[in-house]
Point group: C2
Chain length 240, copies 2
DNA sequence: CGGGCTTTTGAGTTAAATCAACAGCAGTGG
DNA sequence: CCACTGCTGTTGATTTAACTCAAAAGCCCG
Protein backbone atom coordinates (compact mmCIF):
# COMPACT_ATOMS: atom_id res chain seq x y z
CA UNK A 1 0.00 0.00 0.00
CA UNK A 2 1.50 3.29 -1.07
CA UNK A 3 1.20 6.23 1.20
CA UNK A 4 -0.39 9.37 -0.16
CA UNK A 5 1.60 12.54 -0.47
CA UNK A 6 5.05 13.20 -1.72
CA UNK A 7 7.67 13.28 0.97
CA UNK A 8 9.97 16.23 0.79
CA UNK A 9 12.72 18.11 2.60
CA UNK A 10 13.27 18.62 6.30
CA UNK A 11 11.21 20.91 8.44
CA UNK A 12 12.10 24.52 8.93
CA UNK A 13 11.29 25.06 12.60
CA UNK A 14 11.41 28.85 12.39
CA UNK A 15 8.68 28.71 9.80
CA UNK A 16 6.38 26.84 12.19
CA UNK A 17 7.10 29.32 14.96
CA UNK A 18 5.17 31.90 12.99
CA UNK A 19 1.88 30.06 13.41
CA UNK A 20 -0.32 30.92 16.36
CA UNK A 21 -0.70 27.23 17.03
CA UNK A 22 2.96 27.00 18.08
CA UNK A 23 2.75 30.10 20.20
CA UNK A 24 5.06 30.15 23.16
CA UNK A 25 7.24 27.38 21.80
CA UNK A 26 10.86 28.17 21.17
CA UNK A 27 12.43 27.19 17.87
CA UNK A 28 14.45 24.51 19.58
CA UNK A 29 11.31 23.06 21.16
CA UNK A 30 9.61 23.02 17.81
CA UNK A 31 12.60 21.22 16.36
CA UNK A 32 12.15 18.66 19.09
CA UNK A 33 8.39 18.49 18.52
CA UNK A 34 8.88 17.77 14.84
CA UNK A 35 11.77 15.36 15.19
CA UNK A 36 9.76 12.43 13.85
CA UNK A 37 7.70 14.50 11.43
CA UNK A 38 8.21 15.11 7.77
CA UNK A 39 6.95 17.60 5.26
CA UNK A 40 4.51 16.19 2.73
CA UNK A 41 3.00 17.63 -0.39
CA UNK A 42 -0.36 16.82 -1.93
CA UNK A 43 -1.62 17.78 -5.33
CA UNK A 44 -5.04 19.34 -5.86
CA UNK A 45 -7.80 16.75 -5.63
CA UNK A 46 -5.61 14.16 -3.97
CA UNK A 47 -7.08 12.20 -1.07
CA UNK A 48 -4.84 12.56 1.95
CA UNK A 49 -6.66 9.91 3.95
CA UNK A 50 -9.96 8.13 3.74
CA UNK A 51 -12.84 7.65 6.14
CA UNK A 52 -12.60 4.40 8.17
CA UNK A 53 -8.98 3.98 7.17
CA UNK A 54 -6.41 3.23 9.84
CA UNK A 55 -5.16 6.55 11.18
CA UNK A 56 -1.42 6.21 10.80
CA UNK A 57 -0.52 9.90 10.58
CA UNK A 58 -1.70 13.27 11.79
CA UNK A 59 -0.99 16.62 10.17
CA UNK A 60 -0.44 20.34 10.44
CA UNK A 61 -1.34 22.36 7.36
CA UNK A 62 1.38 24.73 6.14
CA UNK A 63 -0.04 25.69 2.78
CA UNK A 64 -3.26 25.17 0.86
CA UNK A 65 -6.73 24.10 1.92
CA UNK A 66 -8.20 20.76 2.85
CA UNK A 67 -11.79 19.66 2.50
CA UNK A 68 -12.93 17.18 5.13
CA UNK A 69 -15.63 15.02 3.63
CA UNK A 70 -17.97 12.48 5.16
CA UNK A 71 -19.72 9.83 3.14
CA UNK A 72 -22.78 7.89 4.32
CA UNK A 73 -23.99 4.35 3.56
CA UNK A 74 -25.83 5.86 0.62
CA UNK A 75 -22.76 7.26 -1.06
CA UNK A 76 -23.98 10.80 -0.37
CA UNK A 77 -21.32 13.18 0.82
CA UNK A 78 -20.99 16.34 2.82
CA UNK A 79 -18.10 18.66 3.45
CA UNK A 80 -18.04 18.87 7.22
CA UNK A 81 -15.17 21.31 7.43
CA UNK A 82 -12.57 23.16 5.44
CA UNK A 83 -9.13 23.21 7.04
CA UNK A 84 -7.23 26.47 6.60
CA UNK A 85 -3.50 27.00 6.88
CA UNK A 86 -2.25 26.80 10.46
CA UNK A 87 -4.51 24.03 11.73
CA UNK A 88 -4.02 20.43 12.73
CA UNK A 89 -6.04 17.81 10.87
CA UNK A 90 -6.38 14.06 10.83
CA UNK A 91 -5.99 14.12 14.61
CA UNK A 92 -7.81 10.85 15.22
CA UNK A 93 -5.74 10.12 18.33
CA UNK A 94 -7.01 13.35 19.92
CA UNK A 95 -10.48 11.85 19.59
CA UNK A 96 -9.44 8.54 21.08
CA UNK A 97 -9.84 6.86 17.71
CA UNK A 98 -7.67 4.59 15.66
CA UNK A 99 -9.39 5.28 12.34
CA UNK A 100 -10.11 8.51 10.49
CA UNK A 101 -13.71 9.67 10.93
CA UNK A 102 -13.75 11.32 7.50
CA UNK A 103 -11.91 11.70 4.22
CA UNK A 104 -9.50 14.59 3.64
CA UNK A 105 -9.12 15.96 0.14
CA UNK A 106 -6.64 18.61 -0.93
CA UNK A 107 -8.68 21.44 -2.44
CA UNK A 108 -5.51 22.83 -4.00
CA UNK A 109 -1.84 21.90 -3.94
CA UNK A 110 -1.07 21.52 -0.22
CA UNK A 111 1.94 21.30 2.04
CA UNK A 112 1.69 19.80 5.51
CA UNK A 113 3.74 18.48 8.37
CA UNK A 114 2.98 14.81 9.00
CA UNK A 115 3.70 12.89 12.18
CA UNK A 116 3.44 9.13 12.55
CA UNK A 117 0.58 8.35 14.90
CA UNK A 118 3.01 6.62 17.25
CA UNK A 119 4.43 10.02 18.14
CA UNK A 120 1.14 11.23 19.52
CA UNK A 121 1.37 9.99 23.08
CA UNK A 122 4.87 11.23 23.69
CA UNK A 123 4.15 14.59 22.08
CA UNK A 124 1.05 15.07 24.18
CA UNK A 125 3.03 14.21 27.26
CA UNK A 126 6.14 16.24 26.53
CA UNK A 127 4.37 19.29 25.13
CA UNK A 128 1.34 19.97 27.28
CA UNK A 129 0.75 23.20 25.40
CA UNK A 130 0.46 21.25 22.18
CA UNK A 131 -1.96 18.81 23.82
CA UNK A 132 -4.02 21.66 25.16
CA UNK A 133 -4.16 23.37 21.78
CA UNK A 134 -5.38 20.26 19.99
CA UNK A 135 -7.90 19.68 22.73
CA UNK A 136 -9.23 23.19 22.24
CA UNK A 137 -9.31 22.64 18.49
CA UNK A 138 -11.51 19.60 19.03
CA UNK A 139 -13.72 21.60 21.37
CA UNK A 140 -14.11 24.32 18.79
CA UNK A 141 -15.01 21.83 16.10
CA UNK A 142 -17.64 20.24 18.29
CA UNK A 143 -19.08 23.66 18.99
CA UNK A 144 -19.00 24.56 15.32
CA UNK A 145 -20.69 21.32 14.34
CA UNK A 146 -23.44 21.88 16.89
CA UNK A 147 -24.05 25.31 15.50
CA UNK A 148 -24.25 24.02 11.94
CA UNK A 149 -26.54 21.26 13.14
CA UNK A 150 -28.95 23.79 14.59
CA UNK A 151 -28.75 26.00 11.55
CA UNK A 152 -29.55 23.08 9.30
CA UNK A 153 -32.62 22.34 11.37
CA UNK A 154 -33.82 25.85 11.96
CA UNK A 155 -32.80 28.33 9.30
CA UNK A 156 -33.18 28.38 5.57
CA UNK A 157 -30.72 27.81 2.81
CA UNK A 158 -29.87 31.40 1.95
CA UNK A 159 -28.80 32.08 5.51
CA UNK A 160 -26.66 28.96 5.70
CA UNK A 161 -25.05 29.80 2.38
CA UNK A 162 -24.21 33.31 3.53
CA UNK A 163 -22.59 31.84 6.63
CA UNK A 164 -20.61 29.29 4.66
CA UNK A 165 -19.34 31.91 2.23
CA UNK A 166 -18.28 34.21 5.06
CA UNK A 167 -16.46 31.32 6.73
CA UNK A 168 -14.57 30.56 3.54
CA UNK A 169 -13.80 34.24 3.22
CA UNK A 170 -12.29 34.27 6.68
CA UNK A 171 -10.31 31.12 5.97
CA UNK A 172 -9.12 31.86 2.48
CA UNK A 173 -10.08 35.41 1.60
CA UNK A 174 -7.64 37.33 -0.58
CA UNK A 175 -7.95 40.89 -1.69
CA UNK A 176 -8.89 41.19 -5.34
CA UNK A 177 -9.19 44.79 -6.51
CA UNK A 178 -11.48 46.01 -3.76
CA UNK A 179 -13.46 42.79 -3.44
CA UNK A 180 -12.38 39.68 -1.54
CA UNK A 181 -11.82 36.49 -3.45
CA UNK A 182 -11.99 33.01 -1.96
CA UNK A 183 -8.55 31.81 -2.83
CA UNK A 184 -9.40 28.20 -3.57
CA UNK A 185 -11.65 26.47 -6.06
CA UNK A 186 -15.24 26.41 -4.80
CA UNK A 187 -17.99 25.05 -7.03
CA UNK A 188 -21.74 25.29 -6.53
CA UNK A 189 -21.68 21.62 -5.69
CA UNK A 190 -19.01 22.21 -3.02
CA UNK A 191 -21.12 24.90 -1.39
CA UNK A 192 -24.18 22.66 -1.55
CA UNK A 193 -22.23 19.87 0.15
CA UNK A 194 -21.25 22.22 2.96
CA UNK A 195 -24.74 23.37 3.84
CA UNK A 196 -26.83 20.35 2.93
CA UNK A 197 -28.65 21.47 -0.17
CA UNK A 198 -28.43 20.99 -3.94
CA UNK A 199 -26.24 22.74 -6.46
CA UNK A 200 -29.40 24.07 -8.11
CA UNK A 201 -30.54 25.91 -5.04
CA UNK A 202 -27.05 27.31 -4.51
CA UNK A 203 -26.90 28.42 -8.12
CA UNK A 204 -30.20 30.25 -7.87
CA UNK A 205 -29.15 32.09 -4.74
CA UNK A 206 -25.75 32.98 -6.13
CA UNK A 207 -27.37 34.30 -9.31
CA UNK A 208 -29.66 36.41 -7.20
CA UNK A 209 -26.74 37.75 -5.14
CA UNK A 210 -24.80 38.45 -8.30
CA UNK A 211 -27.69 40.48 -9.70
CA UNK A 212 -27.68 42.47 -6.47
CA UNK A 213 -23.95 43.08 -6.74
CA UNK A 214 -23.13 41.17 -3.57
CA UNK A 215 -20.87 38.58 -5.21
CA UNK A 216 -19.20 37.81 -8.49
CA UNK A 217 -18.60 34.20 -9.39
CA UNK A 218 -18.23 31.52 -11.94
CA UNK A 219 -16.54 28.22 -12.67
CA UNK A 220 -15.01 27.42 -9.32
CA UNK A 221 -14.42 30.97 -8.18
CA UNK A 222 -16.32 33.05 -5.67
CA UNK A 223 -15.55 36.71 -5.05
CA UNK A 224 -17.45 38.70 -2.47
CA UNK A 225 -17.96 42.36 -3.32
CA UNK A 226 -20.16 43.32 -0.39
CA UNK A 227 -19.44 41.10 2.61
CA UNK A 228 -21.56 43.41 4.78
CA UNK A 229 -24.63 42.40 2.78
CA UNK A 230 -23.98 38.76 3.60
CA UNK A 231 -23.67 39.58 7.28
CA UNK A 232 -26.96 41.40 6.96
CA UNK A 233 -28.67 38.38 5.44
CA UNK A 234 -27.51 36.31 8.39
CA UNK A 235 -28.88 38.80 10.88
CA UNK A 236 -32.15 39.14 9.01
CA UNK A 237 -32.87 35.48 9.48
CA UNK A 238 -32.84 36.05 13.22
CA UNK A 239 -35.92 38.22 13.57
CA UNK A 240 -37.84 38.85 10.35
CA UNK B 1 -26.11 33.30 43.18
CA UNK B 2 -27.33 29.95 44.41
CA UNK B 3 -25.89 26.84 42.98
CA UNK B 4 -28.32 24.38 41.43
CA UNK B 5 -28.75 20.93 42.87
CA UNK B 6 -29.07 19.76 46.40
CA UNK B 7 -25.83 18.71 47.99
CA UNK B 8 -25.98 15.39 49.72
CA UNK B 9 -23.91 12.71 51.43
CA UNK B 10 -20.39 11.55 50.70
CA UNK B 11 -19.44 9.46 47.73
CA UNK B 12 -19.47 5.70 47.83
CA UNK B 13 -16.39 4.80 45.84
CA UNK B 14 -17.34 1.16 45.42
CA UNK B 15 -20.52 2.27 43.70
CA UNK B 16 -18.54 4.18 41.10
CA UNK B 17 -16.26 1.22 40.48
CA UNK B 18 -19.19 -0.56 38.89
CA UNK B 19 -19.32 1.88 35.97
CA UNK B 20 -17.35 1.07 32.83
CA UNK B 21 -16.05 4.61 32.88
CA UNK B 22 -13.99 3.89 35.99
CA UNK B 23 -12.72 0.62 34.65
CA UNK B 24 -9.31 -0.38 35.87
CA UNK B 25 -9.38 2.02 38.77
CA UNK B 26 -9.14 0.59 42.24
CA UNK B 27 -11.59 1.71 44.87
CA UNK B 28 -8.84 3.58 46.66
CA UNK B 29 -7.93 5.41 43.47
CA UNK B 30 -11.55 6.33 42.94
CA UNK B 31 -11.69 7.64 46.46
CA UNK B 32 -8.71 9.80 45.60
CA UNK B 33 -10.27 10.86 42.30
CA UNK B 34 -13.43 12.00 44.02
CA UNK B 35 -11.78 13.64 46.99
CA UNK B 36 -12.99 17.11 45.99
CA UNK B 37 -16.25 15.93 44.51
CA UNK B 38 -19.68 15.79 46.03
CA UNK B 39 -22.91 14.04 45.25
CA UNK B 40 -25.65 16.30 43.99
CA UNK B 41 -29.30 15.73 43.33
CA UNK B 42 -31.53 17.46 40.81
CA UNK B 43 -35.26 17.31 40.55
CA UNK B 44 -37.05 16.64 37.29
CA UNK B 45 -37.07 19.69 35.04
CA UNK B 46 -34.34 21.48 36.96
CA UNK B 47 -31.62 23.23 34.98
CA UNK B 48 -28.23 21.94 36.06
CA UNK B 49 -26.30 24.58 34.16
CA UNK B 50 -27.06 27.05 31.42
CA UNK B 51 -25.51 27.77 28.05
CA UNK B 52 -22.85 30.53 28.15
CA UNK B 53 -22.69 30.32 31.93
CA UNK B 54 -19.31 30.07 33.60
CA UNK B 55 -18.40 26.40 33.81
CA UNK B 56 -17.64 25.97 37.49
CA UNK B 57 -18.38 22.27 37.82
CA UNK B 58 -18.29 19.08 35.80
CA UNK B 59 -20.31 15.95 36.43
CA UNK B 60 -20.70 12.21 36.27
CA UNK B 61 -24.27 10.93 36.08
CA UNK B 62 -25.14 8.25 38.63
CA UNK B 63 -28.88 8.13 38.21
CA UNK B 64 -31.47 9.62 35.89
CA UNK B 65 -31.22 11.22 32.48
CA UNK B 66 -30.07 14.63 31.34
CA UNK B 67 -31.17 16.52 28.26
CA UNK B 68 -28.51 18.75 26.77
CA UNK B 69 -30.22 21.65 25.05
CA UNK B 70 -28.90 24.38 22.80
CA UNK B 71 -30.71 27.61 22.20
CA UNK B 72 -30.03 29.96 19.29
CA UNK B 73 -30.31 33.75 18.94
CA UNK B 74 -33.91 33.15 17.92
CA UNK B 75 -34.91 31.39 21.08
CA UNK B 76 -35.39 28.15 19.17
CA UNK B 77 -34.02 25.10 20.90
CA UNK B 78 -32.75 21.66 20.11
CA UNK B 79 -31.84 18.71 22.24
CA UNK B 80 -28.35 17.90 21.06
CA UNK B 81 -27.85 14.91 23.29
CA UNK B 82 -29.37 12.85 26.07
CA UNK B 83 -26.91 11.83 28.76
CA UNK B 84 -27.50 8.36 30.16
CA UNK B 85 -26.30 6.98 33.48
CA UNK B 86 -22.56 6.35 33.54
CA UNK B 87 -21.40 9.34 31.48
CA UNK B 88 -19.58 12.54 32.19
CA UNK B 89 -21.33 15.77 31.31
CA UNK B 90 -20.66 19.48 31.56
CA UNK B 91 -17.03 18.75 30.75
CA UNK B 92 -16.28 22.19 29.37
CA UNK B 93 -12.61 21.98 30.44
CA UNK B 94 -12.16 18.90 28.24
CA UNK B 95 -13.14 21.13 25.34
CA UNK B 96 -10.74 23.87 26.34
CA UNK B 97 -13.65 26.09 27.31
CA UNK B 98 -14.49 28.13 30.36
CA UNK B 99 -18.23 28.36 29.69
CA UNK B 100 -20.84 25.69 29.09
CA UNK B 101 -21.70 25.28 25.41
CA UNK B 102 -25.27 24.21 26.18
CA UNK B 103 -27.90 23.95 28.88
CA UNK B 104 -28.39 20.74 30.85
CA UNK B 105 -31.85 19.86 32.09
CA UNK B 106 -32.71 16.93 34.34
CA UNK B 107 -35.32 14.88 32.46
CA UNK B 108 -36.16 13.10 35.69
CA UNK B 109 -34.90 13.19 39.24
CA UNK B 110 -31.12 12.84 38.84
CA UNK B 111 -28.11 12.04 40.99
CA UNK B 112 -24.61 13.01 39.91
CA UNK B 113 -21.08 13.41 41.13
CA UNK B 114 -19.92 17.01 40.81
CA UNK B 115 -16.34 18.24 40.78
CA UNK B 116 -15.26 21.86 41.03
CA UNK B 117 -13.70 22.86 37.72
CA UNK B 118 -10.46 23.65 39.53
CA UNK B 119 -9.94 19.94 40.05
CA UNK B 120 -9.82 19.26 36.35
CA UNK B 121 -6.16 19.86 35.64
CA UNK B 122 -4.87 17.83 38.52
CA UNK B 123 -7.30 14.98 37.83
CA UNK B 124 -6.28 14.86 34.19
CA UNK B 125 -2.67 14.80 35.23
CA UNK B 126 -2.91 12.29 38.02
CA UNK B 127 -5.37 9.94 36.34
CA UNK B 128 -4.34 9.59 32.71
CA UNK B 129 -6.97 6.91 32.24
CA UNK B 130 -9.64 9.34 33.29
CA UNK B 131 -8.28 11.95 30.90
CA UNK B 132 -8.20 9.45 28.08
CA UNK B 133 -11.76 8.34 28.75
CA UNK B 134 -13.12 11.86 28.66
CA UNK B 135 -11.14 12.55 25.52
CA UNK B 136 -12.72 9.51 23.90
CA UNK B 137 -16.13 10.63 25.09
CA UNK B 138 -15.58 13.96 23.34
CA UNK B 139 -14.46 12.14 20.22
CA UNK B 140 -17.57 10.00 20.24
CA UNK B 141 -19.80 13.01 20.64
CA UNK B 142 -18.15 14.77 17.74
CA UNK B 143 -18.62 11.67 15.64
CA UNK B 144 -22.23 11.36 16.73
CA UNK B 145 -22.92 15.01 15.96
CA UNK B 146 -21.42 14.66 12.50
CA UNK B 147 -23.64 11.70 11.83
CA UNK B 148 -26.74 13.55 12.96
CA UNK B 149 -25.67 16.52 10.89
CA UNK B 150 -25.53 14.38 7.77
CA UNK B 151 -28.80 12.67 8.57
CA UNK B 152 -30.50 16.01 8.99
CA UNK B 153 -29.27 17.06 5.57
CA UNK B 154 -29.79 13.83 3.71
CA UNK B 155 -32.53 11.66 5.12
CA UNK B 156 -36.12 12.24 5.94
CA UNK B 157 -37.89 12.69 9.21
CA UNK B 158 -39.23 9.19 9.69
CA UNK B 159 -35.73 7.77 9.45
CA UNK B 160 -34.30 10.27 11.89
CA UNK B 161 -37.14 9.63 14.31
CA UNK B 162 -36.56 5.88 14.18
CA UNK B 163 -32.90 6.47 14.95
CA UNK B 164 -33.66 8.81 17.84
CA UNK B 165 -36.14 6.38 19.37
CA UNK B 166 -33.68 3.50 19.11
CA UNK B 167 -30.99 5.63 20.73
CA UNK B 168 -33.29 6.46 23.63
CA UNK B 169 -34.16 2.78 23.86
CA UNK B 170 -30.49 1.91 24.19
CA UNK B 171 -29.94 4.63 26.76
CA UNK B 172 -33.03 4.20 28.85
CA UNK B 173 -34.88 1.12 27.66
CA UNK B 174 -36.63 -0.92 30.33
CA UNK B 175 -38.53 -4.12 29.83
CA UNK B 176 -42.28 -3.62 30.03
CA UNK B 177 -44.22 -6.85 29.57
CA UNK B 178 -42.56 -7.98 26.37
CA UNK B 179 -42.10 -4.51 24.91
CA UNK B 180 -39.37 -2.01 25.81
CA UNK B 181 -40.31 1.23 27.44
CA UNK B 182 -38.24 4.39 27.36
CA UNK B 183 -37.85 4.95 31.06
CA UNK B 184 -38.00 8.72 31.06
CA UNK B 185 -40.61 11.26 30.02
CA UNK B 186 -40.40 11.91 26.28
CA UNK B 187 -42.99 14.12 24.63
CA UNK B 188 -43.60 14.62 20.91
CA UNK B 189 -42.03 18.02 21.30
CA UNK B 190 -38.91 16.47 22.86
CA UNK B 191 -38.53 14.08 19.95
CA UNK B 192 -39.08 16.92 17.49
CA UNK B 193 -36.35 18.94 19.22
CA UNK B 194 -33.94 16.02 18.90
CA UNK B 195 -34.32 15.54 15.16
CA UNK B 196 -35.11 19.03 13.97
CA UNK B 197 -38.77 18.83 13.09
CA UNK B 198 -42.14 19.82 14.56
CA UNK B 199 -44.27 18.04 17.12
CA UNK B 200 -46.99 17.68 14.48
CA UNK B 201 -44.81 15.68 12.16
CA UNK B 202 -43.62 13.50 15.02
CA UNK B 203 -47.20 12.95 16.13
CA UNK B 204 -48.28 11.87 12.66
CA UNK B 205 -45.43 9.39 12.35
CA UNK B 206 -45.97 7.99 15.83
CA UNK B 207 -49.67 7.56 15.10
CA UNK B 208 -48.76 5.70 11.94
CA UNK B 209 -46.31 3.48 13.81
CA UNK B 210 -48.88 2.86 16.49
CA UNK B 211 -51.42 1.76 13.92
CA UNK B 212 -48.82 -0.69 12.60
CA UNK B 213 -48.18 -2.02 16.08
CA UNK B 214 -44.56 -0.83 16.16
CA UNK B 215 -44.93 1.42 19.18
CA UNK B 216 -47.37 2.33 21.92
CA UNK B 217 -47.28 5.79 23.33
CA UNK B 218 -49.00 8.71 24.89
CA UNK B 219 -48.52 11.63 27.22
CA UNK B 220 -44.78 11.57 27.71
CA UNK B 221 -44.30 7.84 27.37
CA UNK B 222 -42.92 5.85 24.48
CA UNK B 223 -42.90 2.07 24.41
CA UNK B 224 -41.44 0.15 21.51
CA UNK B 225 -43.14 -3.12 20.74
CA UNK B 226 -41.21 -4.05 17.61
CA UNK B 227 -37.73 -2.52 17.67
CA UNK B 228 -36.79 -4.62 14.65
CA UNK B 229 -39.30 -2.68 12.57
CA UNK B 230 -37.58 0.56 13.49
CA UNK B 231 -34.21 -0.86 12.50
CA UNK B 232 -35.84 -1.84 9.23
CA UNK B 233 -37.10 1.68 8.61
CA UNK B 234 -33.57 2.95 9.09
CA UNK B 235 -32.14 0.46 6.61
CA UNK B 236 -34.88 1.14 4.08
CA UNK B 237 -33.87 4.76 3.87
CA UNK B 238 -30.48 3.61 2.58
CA UNK B 239 -31.55 2.14 -0.74
CA UNK B 240 -35.24 2.43 -1.55
C1' DC C 1 -64.14 20.25 37.63
C1' DG C 2 -61.66 23.62 35.32
C1' DG C 3 -57.42 24.99 33.24
C1' DG C 4 -53.20 23.70 31.31
C1' DC C 5 -50.46 20.46 28.90
C1' DT C 6 -50.03 17.01 25.40
C1' DT C 7 -51.66 14.86 21.44
C1' DT C 8 -54.31 14.15 17.23
C1' DT C 9 -55.94 15.21 12.78
C1' DG C 10 -57.30 18.03 8.82
C1' DA C 11 -56.46 21.68 5.38
C1' DG C 12 -53.61 24.76 3.06
C1' DT C 13 -48.99 26.58 2.02
C1' DT C 14 -44.23 26.65 0.92
C1' DA C 15 -39.19 26.09 0.63
C1' DA C 16 -36.54 23.38 -1.62
C1' DA C 17 -35.95 19.00 -4.15
C1' DT C 18 -36.44 16.82 -8.37
C1' DC C 19 -36.82 16.60 -13.22
C1' DA C 20 -35.29 18.51 -17.46
C1' DA C 21 -32.84 20.96 -20.82
C1' DC C 22 -29.39 23.74 -22.31
C1' DA C 23 -25.39 26.92 -22.37
C1' DG C 24 -20.53 27.95 -21.72
C1' DC C 25 -15.74 27.29 -20.64
C1' DA C 26 -11.58 24.39 -20.40
C1' DG C 27 -8.65 21.10 -21.49
C1' DT C 28 -7.53 16.99 -24.86
C1' DG C 29 -6.16 15.17 -28.63
C1' DG C 30 -6.67 14.47 -33.47
C1' DC D 1 -6.43 25.08 -34.42
C1' DC D 2 -10.76 23.51 -33.74
C1' DA D 3 -13.92 19.89 -32.59
C1' DC D 4 -15.19 16.93 -29.02
C1' DT D 5 -15.99 15.66 -24.35
C1' DG D 6 -16.60 16.58 -19.74
C1' DC D 7 -17.33 19.63 -16.18
C1' DT D 8 -19.75 23.56 -14.27
C1' DG D 9 -23.39 26.61 -14.11
C1' DT D 10 -28.15 28.60 -15.31
C1' DT D 11 -32.95 28.54 -15.48
C1' DG D 12 -37.67 26.80 -15.95
C1' DA D 13 -41.42 23.56 -14.62
C1' DT D 14 -43.22 20.35 -11.53
C1' DT D 15 -43.50 17.85 -7.33
C1' DT D 16 -43.27 16.92 -2.57
C1' DA D 17 -42.00 16.48 2.28
C1' DA D 18 -42.75 18.90 5.87
C1' DC D 19 -44.25 23.29 7.93
C1' DT D 20 -47.85 26.29 9.31
C1' DC D 21 -52.37 27.23 10.62
C1' DA D 22 -56.39 25.64 12.97
C1' DA D 23 -59.32 23.26 15.95
C1' DA D 24 -60.60 19.96 18.98
C1' DA D 25 -60.11 16.06 22.10
C1' DG D 26 -57.90 13.59 25.95
C1' DC D 27 -55.48 13.42 30.24
C1' DC D 28 -53.63 15.05 34.66
C1' DC D 29 -53.33 17.87 38.59
C1' DG D 30 -54.55 21.09 41.81
Amino acid sequence: MTRNGKRSSRIDASQLARFAFFDDLSVSKIRDLTANASVVRFSAGEQIFRQYEDADRFFFLLEGNIRVVRVNENGEQMIIRTIPVGEMFGIAPALGRTTYPATAVAAVECIAVAWPVESWASLAERFPRFAKATQSAVGERLEETHEKFMDLAKVQVEYRLAKAVLTLLRQAGKDDQGAIKIDMPVTRQNLADMIGTTLHTVSRIMSDWQSKGIVKSGRGTVTVVLPAKLAEIIKRSGSP
